[in-house]
């Protein structure tokens, strides 16, 4: 590796690594469980920091002013496109072929500005599973998932707004490839504020549109 490993790991966690370096690092992560554990730990901290409420930051003092800079701001880690265009096309074809109503998988999601919700693994699921959702302007939600098991034939994940198993609405369907990641920017069919949870379930296309009961990630939606 030509660059300082720490710098590269930081760039990766913060979503500032270029595609070529990212691919190389991800290859190394697959081969090195110690490094993978370190990166996952940093990503967990990054997700927590992303979700800190403004009041919590004020513990450090008043919000500092941000000087105007010339450089274009890099997108946050979880917003950056991690799927190649070919994979996106393949995913879309698969989803459409299966007749699934889907959210829009896009190369560059819109600018999320609202509250962030970190979805975590439910009991019995791998604790490393993770998804981060952020409300965006125009009644949209940007969702980034990491380390979810790849969907098999006929399987897909469904994002739900949910109050209970009897009171819920499907938001979007998506599939996950071998890298365990996906990025979605989806319009919300209803206001998220009417619901208490965000939930991601594993579904089978042969089993109909109802919630399968097999939830993999969930988080309460903060008031």
């Amino acid at each position: 590796m030509s660059r300082e490993p720490d710098e590269q790991i930081g760039d990766y966690v913060l979503g500032e690594l270029d595609e070529q370096e990212r691919s190389r690092l991800e290859q190394r992560l697959r081969e090195d469980p110690v490094l993978r554990g370190r990166v996952e730990g940093l990503e967990e901290i990054g997700s927590l920091l992303e979700s800190l409420p403004g009041e919590a930051w004020e513990i450090l003092g008043p919000r500092p002013a941000r000087a105007p800079v010339k450089a274009r701001r890099a997108a946050p880690a979880w917003l950056r496109m991690r799927l190649r265009v070919g994979l996106v096309a393949a995913a879309l074809a698969l989803l459409l072929g299966a007749g699934i109503g889907i959210g829009v998988l896009i190369e560059r999601p819109g600018s999320p500005s609202g509250p962030t919700v970190v979805l975590r693994a439910l009991a019995g699921r791998p604790s490393s599973d993770l998804a981060v959702a952020r409300m965006a302007s125009g009644g949209r939600m940007v969702l980034s998932v990491k380390r979810l098991p790849p969907t098999g034939p006929g399987g897909f994940y469904e994002l739900w707004l949910m109050n209970s198993v009897h009171d819920l609405v499907a938001v979007a369907s998506f599939r996950v490839g071998a890298d365990g990641q996906a990025e979605l920017d989806v319009p919300l069919p209803v206001s998220a504020s009417r619901y208490r949870y965000l939930d991601i379930s594993l579904q089978q296309s042969s089993a109909g549109p109802a919630h399968s009961g097999d939830s993999v990630l969930r988080a309460p939606i903060a008031a």
Binding site: E4, E7, L48, L49, E55, A74
Partner: protein
Amino acid sequence: MSTLAIPAGPRSAPALRQADGVPSRPSAAGRDDRRLLRQLARCDPAAAGTIQSSYGRILLGYLRQVLDDGGAAEDVLQQVLLEAWQRGPDFDPARASVLTWLMTIARSRAIDVLRRRVPEPRDPALATALLDREGAVEDHAGALAERWQMAHLLSTLAPDQAGLLRMRFQLGMSQSEIAEQTGIPLGTVKTRMVRALEQLRGMMEEGR
């Protein structure tokens, strides 16, 4: 606000070190914790004041957010201080950090309050839905507790480290923008950023 029934101890919150925007250093936090542990072990009423001084702002911030009611949050904070003082001699610092222990108490008391807000089901068919909601209450309180715990850990980092993280995660600046704004070389920004994240991770692990 309800009255905290601890005799003779300091009751009002002293000025918090963090309130002036100068985060405390790990060594100072460690000294405060050691003093607090001694006070807790001997059931010293001053423990409540030390907790208030070191953790009051974090606990109150958390309780305000999770309860969405400033008055209720003040009341619950008093309960937390009282309970911590009462249970202090049993606290085992080998099992959890003071922060984790206090946040656990705060979370439990907050959940008590939130549960009391849920009406008893008259229709048996509603029981399932209410059970779902109880789970949501606990998840919500737990997730927020984790975030506020992180906020406290942030406040114990060196100011330059915490400042970098703030610029990145609160203001959404890239590392290049941070380097440009602060005049710190980009490579140094990157190295410090990783070290700060690693340090937070280490502290989080220690507290679990």
